[in-house]
Symmetry: C2
Subunit: 433 residues, 2 copies
């Protein structure tokens, strides 16, 4: 009986795992150097946790099942509900600000199609317990620090920044009722992905008058500092709005001081689809042929209390291994991966094999990767096996050429070789020969 | 609404994640230095994959569900079926021997109880395409190399080794029919966990005669080299059995040469519960108060062809993070984890904050972890925050004491401080002061 991986999932053969690990290593490194600590939760939660955060509609997007006790469980489709639950459970004892990151495996019951996987990994970075623009700026900084670490430059990726608070001020100014906001955010979020007339129609369908439509359409997208000025002018005299605008301005000033301003741009086209954002929202956007969001986040000051915790401000973002890999491939930034071992240890004759095994043990204990041929073969065939395995250097146990406590050390790239003592081999197996 | 983690799962707060990462790092390090490369598969597979390997009985032990297309899927309860599927799919193109390892997340629909988690991690190490005792010995070596790496000595953990092939020879010699073997293996596997009379009764229930019982009971457990001699004597004249016994002997000789012989012991009490083992079987066993298996594996030469691949010999083992943590706690071998950052950067007065941010960026780009206070506070309070955050050193931007391109560098352990240039800070922030 022949089996395949379930559609929409991936097998990670060594070469795929190397790519995944390359990305993951940079996620860990960048989060840690900004002082974030790693957390994780279970891969499944009570189904209700997702219902509470996202409503009944989420259920069809989840892989859900019952345990023996009949409890409804679901594989996590995102990390934030778990994070909020974990913070809520221990809120009093956690030192603020809580700076957490995670690299969760997630599943969604998508209809499998190109670019829509049913299983993927995310990088989540969150700051909880801090409400100022400094926390917003630090989250965006971490995203950009990762881009820089991968060699991505401002021509490859831009971080579009907006504020839900400012957008609410604009919508209020235009005379929309607060209960219309969520639907308007959803329409605005789709704006760049649909033709202009479709977007305009969707505003009409939401009951927008001609004057209201004009205000919303005038907001524009991809508008940078001029956009921020335009909104500021529009909201002249609205003191609360000016406070929100000043916060956005401060965030940009902080990003400049943190050295990542050149990646960042104000953009009224970004509102993010999720209902739970309350303040700043942002989105990394891949340029070139990609032209799509590659990470997203923002401020969600209500969520911790929604899952039973105290009111705690929070800001965070997520990105996935799938979009990051697409982005790196698009710009040719993924290195070629070749699986190497440090040393391949060879017996010149089978009676030397015992020494091969003890050398291998010594080398491994010193944390060098060391392998040997499983079958006793002539020297030439073992050398070929060493080359095939990607060995950097070969150690040959051959008492005729290297008697006593000596071995032959051969560099596979230069082809040079030398007789060395075992002591000097252990001191530095990559010493010049 | 307050939520909890599902029973039998774990939340990994920073201190829990530190333990998990400590164990995982050693799994990766040890596998890699023996030349194993990492792979992974999806967290769910077609339910049939597990049915084919383990029979219909497995279904109740799995979390299973249907996708939108009505296909029956299950969260993986073990990695081996996925591994076998992946090898089978690409068998012709994979370079032999295939030396793979993985650190899969796994779930089992256990009734939650102490020590029985519904979600856990495993370390799987497998050699595919090699049938000799050298591959068996290398797998056991890797397990022991991990024990050594954690500081576990032969008084903490012993690897019990036996052979299904030899056990089959003994059972055949005793006159049992091959169709009785699987049930007998299961009974033998439980032998040490039940009273002697219960074990004897279970043999009777399987139709063993008095003479047959005597042969099986005489096998004993925890018997070392004397046990191997006893079995060899019992099977004198059985040429096939002597070949199997010689293979076991060779495996022990190889383990000695690889430097891990002192951890290993022949033990006819070990047969492993799983039906698919075909040759050598082994089990790491935790001593002290633990007295339980902490890893297990063996040769499974039929599995790859069972899932549609070519006939390929294979040997491997697995252990889980849960038992390893128990073992390390039992012997006090887990270090204390304290989350540290390299540097905490402080402004002596708020007008220096801009320089704090730019220093933080420079330090992070050089891959030092660097943080700062989110609120502008007096120097003393920032120093306290730095101590609370576990900062190794503090950088103070204070133009009065350290004018121009200088800063104050303070060591938090010794309390010593010095005025240094930013250049020398960047050259080595941990230089002696």
């Amino acid at each position: 009986m022949k089996f395949q991986a379930v559609k929409g999932t991936r097998d990670f053969y060594p070469e795929d795992m190397a790519v995944r690990n390359w990305i993951f290593e940079r996620w860990h490194r960048v989060a840690r150097r900004s002082g974030f600590v790693e957390v994780d939760g279970p891969i499944f939660e009570y189904l209700d946790l997702y219902r509470v955060k996202s409503g009944e509609g989420i259920v069809s997007e989840l892989f859900h099942f019952e345990d023996r006790g009949g409890r409804a469980l679901a594989i996590r489709p995102e990390m934030t509900p778990t994070l909020a639950r974990m913070v809520a459970a221990r809120a009093p004892s956690l030192t603020r600000p809580i700076k957490w990151y995670s690299v969760p495996r997630l599943c969604r019951a998508e209809r499998p199609q190109r670019g829509r996987l049913r299983e993927f990994f995310q990088w989540n970075v969150d700051i909880i317990g801090e409400k100022g623009p400094l926390a917003d700026a630090e989250c965006i900084y971490v995203a950009v620090d990762f881009f820089r670490e991968c060699g991505l430059k401002p021509e490859h990726v831009v971080v579009k920044i907006n504020s839900r608070a400012v957008m609410a001020d604009v919508l209020r100014h235009a005379g929309f009722a607060p209960e219309q906001f969520d639907a308007l955010y959803a329409a605005l979020d789709r704006r760049e992905r649909v033709p202009a007339e479709v977007f305009e129609e969707s505003l009409g369908a939401l009951g927008a008058t001609r004057a209201q439509k004009e205000i919303v359409l005038a907001l524009g997208t991809q508008n940078g500092p001029a956009g921020l000025q335009k909104v500021t002018a529009l909201l002249t005299g609205d003191d609360a709005a000016q406070v929100h605008l000043a916060q956005v301005g401060e965030c940009f000033a902080l990003l400049d001081k943190l050295g990542v301003g050149e990646y960042c741009r104000f953009d009224t086209g970004v509102v993010r689809g999720l209902a739970y954002y309350t303040g700043l929202v942002f989105e990394g956007y891949g340029m070139g042929g990609l032209q799509r969001a590659i990470c997203g986040g923002g401020r969600y000051d209500q969520l911790i209390s929604t899952v039973g915790g105290p009111p705690l401000p929070a800001v965070g973002f997520a990105t996935s291994d799938v979009v990051i890999q697409d982005l790196l491939v698009e710009f040719g930034l993924l290195p070629e991966f070749q699986d190497k071992v440090d040393l391949f240890v060879i017996d010149a004759a089978p009676e030397q094999f015992e020494r091969v095994l003890s050398l291998v043990d010594i080398l491994r204990r010193a944390n060098y990767s060391a392998v040997f041929a499983y079958r006793r073969q002539p020297l030439g065939r073992q050398l070929k096996a060493a080359a095939a395995r990607g060995a950097r250097r070969v150690v040959i146990v051959d008492p005729l050429t290297a008697p006593g406590e000596q071995v032959i050390l051969k560099d596979m790239e230069s082809g040079r070789q030398a007789v060395v003592t075992v002591d000097s081999l252990m001191a530095d197996p990559f010493a010049t020969i």
